[in-house]
């Protein structure tokens, strides 16, 4: 059957062959990412039913795990690769018409590299391999943030670069410690020997890796780069960044904590950090009137919610976290893409300049509203199911700490509701209401809106199949020993 390595190989290969195609005809460049993502999506969807029962393990170069690098394609991995492929495909279709000026060739190369990095992090079973792909992901996103070459674009790119590199540096030292202590880089192998060393040393490495990954995953103190990066990057990039890049960061932290270290006792602190991230993110988004900064802050907030969900450590918690990741990536991508064309039409990022967009760009504003309602968690949309699961997980876990944390989370969702509803009002109910000419976004942009909106509503109303995938995904995280035996058989 098809080797999952192709998921990484194809985008990598296309990324490097893109300049050659560029020479043949400039126009061909923008179709390549679409082809790559189309292939990835079909392959991962094809792999999903196989992977659910028993994961596929691929040995690169033929050597057995403790020595060679292996790819562990479990339900979690395939779930993430489906999301990456889907969002990547839609953003690349969107980018076909959105990215016109500047060196488009370079944009598409970096875009493909970013996606390969993401795929790699998700599928790899080896911790150093995870770091390498993580590095590819970060570097390509630094470059893409500064793509517009305007003053604050470059400034935020540099800030992102500095913080990102400090983060990756910390991760590298952590991995070096691990290699020093256990002599192996394979996750399963480390997990097997983890409690043979006294816990203090273990903890130092865990702290380093979490802080390092935390920068990319935008957890509370380390997410200072995100608002600047997102507001100055082109909308398609900020959609990818908050749609995929941050989720990969959280996946990496979850993988490290759950499978490798199995350190469930740190989770109550992580839950606290998650809630603080949520509160700070939402509260700082309330007073914004620049649409992209507001969406960026709301991304940090949502990440806090996901981290809190994972930190509930029960199977309900992880299931809720994964569902929230799905919901957040879909709706946040939809919001950023829609905002992109609104900014393009009005020329300014101020929310007050979007008055009467309901009439000028009806479909785009409809998409924006669906994304906003889903993030707030109103019933017919996906957000409701994920909020439902998170509250269920928190309350069934019980305990005073979690009930008051979930209460704080709900307060944060109220604040989020407040500012999203204000934006919806600006779109529909403000501005002159005599009939304005309809300057709708181009068809190429409308396709992703339509697909995302349909997905959000479908998952919201009938979350059955998604839950099926998530159940097996959570079992992979929860049953650490099964993972180890699976790999080291």
């Amino acid at each position: 059957m098809v080797n999952p390595v192709l998921l990484i190989a194809v985008p990598l290969g296309l990324a490097f062959s893109l300049p050659i195609f560029g020479l043949i005809s400039k126009r061909l460049e923008k179709y390549l990412p679409v082809i790559a993502m189309l292939f990835n999506l079909s392959l991962s969807v094809y792999l999903v039913p196989r992977v659910l029962t028993h994961p596929i393990i691929v040995y690169i170069g033929g050597w057995a795990p403790p020595f060679g690098i292996d790819l562990f394609v479990g339900p979690v991995g395939i779930f993430f690769s489906v999301i990456i492929a889907l969002v990547g495909l839609l953003v690349s279709i969107y980018a076909m018409d959105y990215i016109k000026e500047g060196d488009t060739g370079k944009y598409h190369v970096l875009f493909l590299l970013l996606l390969t990095g993401a795929q790699g992090v998700v599928l790899t079973g080896d911790i150093f391999n995870l770091f390498v792909f993580y590095e590819i992901l970060c570097i390509s996103s630094y470059a893409l943030v500064g793509y517009l070459r305007d003053r604050d674009g470059l400034e935020s790119a540099i800030k992102y670069l500095v913080q990102g590199s400090i983060g990756t540096g910390l991760v590298l030292t952590g991995i070096a410690f691990i290699y020093g202590l256990y002599g192996t880089l394979n996750m399963a192998d480390i997990a097997r020997q983890i409690n043979s060393i006294k816990p203090a040393a273990n903890f130092i490495t865990l702290a380093l890796i979490i802080t390092g990954l935390g920068v990319e995953a935008a957890i509370f103190p380390m997410n200072a780069w995100l608002p600047d990066a997102h507001s100055s990057a082109p909308s398609s990039i900020s959609a990818i960044l908050s749609g995929i890049a941050i989720e990969i960061g959280v996946y990496a932290i979850a993988r490290v904590i759950f499978t490798i270290f199995g350190a469930t006792d740190i989770l109550s602190f992580v839950a606290l950090v998650g809630i603080i991230t949520l509160l700070v993110g939402e509260m700082s988004a309330l007073k914004q009137n620049n649409i992209k900064r507001m969406l960026a802050y709301s991304s940090t907030g949502q990440i806090g919610l996901i981290v809190f969900a994972f930190a509930i450590a029960t199977s309900y918690g992880i299931e809720a976290g994964l569902f929230q990741i799905l919901n957040h990536s879909l709706s946040k991508a939809l919001l950023f893409l829609a905002a992109g064309y609104m900014i393009y039409r009005t020329g300014s990022m101020e929310i007050s300049s979007f008055e009467g967009m309901g009439k000028r760009m009806p479909l785009t504003s409809l998409g924006f509203t669906i994304g906003a309602f889903s993030l707030i968690g109103l019933p017919p949309f996906a957000g409701f199911a994920s909020k439902f699961l998170i509250v269920k997980a928190a309350l069934t876990k019980g305990g005073g700490l979690y009930t008051c944390l979930i209460a704080l989370a709900l307060v944060a969702t109220v604040i989020e509701g407040a500012y999203f509803f204000r934006v919806v009002q600006v779109l529909y109910f403000r501005g002159s209401n005599e009939n304005v000419t309809r300057q709708e976004a181009p068809v190429v942009a409308l396709v992703p809106f339509f697909v995302l909106a349909v997905l959000i509503i479908a998952i919201g109303i009938y979350p059955g199949p998604v839950m099926h995938v998530l159940n097996s995904a959570t079992s992979e995280f929860v049953h650490r020993i099964a993972y180890i035996q699976g790999v080291l058989r």
Partner: protein, 616 residues
């Protein structure tokens, strides 16, 4: 015809009207009215059916729809008001823009209310509750300008309410691991009073906000006066009553009477505190309503007061009180919707609803005057209208239940109601007709028809209260109250019976006697409005209208006591939250040094937590 079919028709029909609207507006209007009438017919056919059927599996829990007489009563009220307000909005909204969106939202809100009433478990209740909330938000902010602030205030408060509901729902799930109302009700008797109290408090926050009990009422006056009139008729007629439905479900179905009665003892018991809250809700808004100058604001404040009566009736917990509360819910739906429609008709014709500048409209719109009169009489609780019977029940149980102070507050609230009800009647319809309203003509038919039906309901239930009381008695018995001796003309009981037919016949006979005397005397000469006593001088037309600032002396007395303190507090709270948010945003200073310092700080905290306090 099962419940799922009804809901599918309701929601599907709404989207169908929206699509149809794109083709031809006339077709859309017809379909909207037809849809609501079909729903009304179906609900009417459901009378007497009870049963529960699960219709969908959501995240592992199967959602079920349930119907019994309680939900049927609420459903019939929702359906009737829905259809009447749609008919009313046919002509009221003619010529306004974005009507497809308006009809879509009206039908969605109507359908979601049906969903709430028929939902058998807490999740579907919550789902329809949220759909109703954001549907109402979009409708309130329909006509722009100040309506946006009102809509935002409404949605923020209702989200706070639904989060409280979410917490309550899951705490129930945590201890009974099921969401089905019937299962929870059967298992809850074993729970400890403290736990029951916490669940009830959470639920009463949610339903209190929707029901506009005093501390949580500030969204209602803005929302009602800014929403388009047909919708504010639905909003105050039936949408508030969803809160009442919630109270009944949480107090009497979930917790049950036995458990409720020994929740705390004597004065501190839950339902007595709720009764006190309801009493305050009756008194304070009534006197604020007295001081308003905008007709719809007066009605909005009066809605809060009247809902206080309903909650007072339900909270007392005796069979009479429950019957009184439920009957008052029906009455309030009928006369408040009628009053909003009548004010809407006047606004439609004269373009303004400011009480100080209107006057003498009776000469141009006599029919609307009759409707407002009947509605106002119902609001006051005039002996021949249905409002009287329900208030009589509430007073009787209060007096015999040995807490006359609540009775005093309720009765005194009625007198406040008389004052502001008459203020509306007098300032709009009586007095001199100013110049600019000479060209006003009567309301169109599609406005008259719903008003006539509502006034018939008011008078019919007023004279023959037995019809609704029989249904309410069945509900009372099903909830565990003892049955009342209900017959067609009222309540027959040892400590004082009510016989509305005697009252009606007494008044009718004396009316005929007086009318004969009146006819016997020489007929009088019909004169125009300018042939008026003005101390010998001729009446200067247009400047002889004196209905401004109608109850000035009372304002001076009660003004210091009746400032809406709660609203000021909420606004200050919102301001504080905004400044707090601004301060948190300042954390992102913008220069790189501090960002890097944050990362290192996090690492340091992580390690010191581990080594220093050895938490793990």
């Amino acid at each position: 015809m099962s419940l799922e079919m009804l809901l599918v028709i309701a929601f599907g029909g709404a989207f169908l009207t929206y699509l149809l609207g794109k083709l031809s507006p006339v077709l859309r209007d017809i379909l909207a009215v037809l849809l609501t009438l079909v729903i009304l017919a179906i609900v009417a056919l459901f009378y007497g059916r009870t049963g529960e059927s699960s219709f969908m599996n959501f995240l592992g829990f199967n959602l079920s729809l349930r119907i019994n007489t309680l939900s049927w009563l609420f459903a019939i009220a929702v359906a009737t008001l829905g259809s009447l307000s749609t008919i009313f909005s046919l002509s009221y909204m003619k010529g306004k823009e974005r009507l497809d969106f308006y009809y879509l939202m009206m039908l969605i809100v109507n359908a979601s209310m049906l969903g709430i009433v028929f939902s058998g478990d807490l999740i579907s209740f919550y789902v329809f509750w949220e759909i109703m909330s954001w549907g109402t938000f979009l409708l309130i902010s329909y006509n722009r300008g100040p309506a946006l602030a009102a809509g935002l205030k409404y949605i923020v408060m209702s989200i706070v309410g639904s989060t409280a509901y979410l917490l309550g729902m899951f705490s129930l799930y945590a201890s009974y691991s099921t969401f089905n109302i019937a299962d929870i009700a059967s298992r809850i008797s074993t729970a400890s009073p403290g736990y029951l109290l916490s669940v009830l408090v959470l639920f009463s926050i949610t339903f209190g906000i929707k029901n506009a009990l005093v501390p949580l009422h500030t969204w209602l006056p803005d929302a009602h006066s800014e929403a388009p009139s047909p919708f504010s008729a639905v909003l105050s007629g039936i949408l508030i009553k969803m809160g009442t439905y919630g109270f009944v479900i949480s107090m009497y179905v979930l917790v049950g009477i036995k458990a409720l009665s020994h929740l705390g003892h004597g004065i501190l018991s839950f339902h007595f505190m709720l009764a006190i809250l309801a009493a305050v809700t009756i008194l304070v808004p009534t006197f604020i309503a007295l001081m308003q100058d905008d007709a719809k604001r007066v009605l909005a404040w009066s809605s809060i007061a009247q809902v206080g009566y309903i909650i007072l009736g339900i909270a007392i917990g005796t069979s009479l009180g429950f019957a009184g509360g439920m009957f008052h819910f029906l009455n309030h739906a009928s006369f408040k919707a009628l009053l909003f429609m009548a004010i809407g008709a006047v606004e439609y014709r004269t373009g303004t609803r400011d009480l100080n500048s209107l006057g003498g409209i009776i000469k141009k719109m006599p029919f609307t005057f009759m409707m407002t009169l009947i509605g106002a009489l119902g609001l006051i609780g005039f002996p021949l209208t249905n409002g009287f019977v329900s208030k009589w029940l509430i007073y009787k149980t209060l007096i015999l239940g040995k807490d006359p102070f609540l009775a005093f507050v309720a009765l005194f609230g009625t007198w406040g109601t008389i004052l502001y009800a008459y203020k509306i009647l007098h300032n709009i319809f009586m007095g001199q007709l100013p110049e600019e309203y000479k060209g006003v003509e009567e309301a169109p038919f599609s406005m008259k028809f719903p008003m006539v039906i509502l006034s018939i309901i008011i008078i019919l239930f007023g004279i023959l209260p037995g019809i609704p009381l029989k249904v309410i008695n069945v509900i009372g018995v099903s909830l565990g109250f003892k049955s009342l001796a209900v017959n067609i003309w009222g309540i027959a009981s040892d400590t004082g019976a009510l016989n509305t037919i005697n009252i009606f016949s007494a008044i009718l006979v004396s009316w005929i006697v007086v009318w004969l005397i009146f006819k016997a005397a020489p007929t009088s000469l019909r004169v125009e409005q300018d042939n008026n006593y003005a101390a010998g001088s001729y009446v200067p037309t247009g400047r002889y209208l004196y209905t401004a600032n109608f109850y000035a002396p009372v304002y001076r007395i009660i003004k210091p006591y009746v400032i809406d303190v709660v609203d000021i507090f909420y606004m200050a709270l919102a301001g504080a939250v905004r400044t707090l948010c601004d301060w948190t945003r300042r954390m992102y200073t913008g220069e790189l040094g501090s960002y890097v310092m944050y990362i290192m700080l996090f690492l340091a905290v992580l390690i010191t937590m581990r080594l220093g306090f050895n938490i793990w």
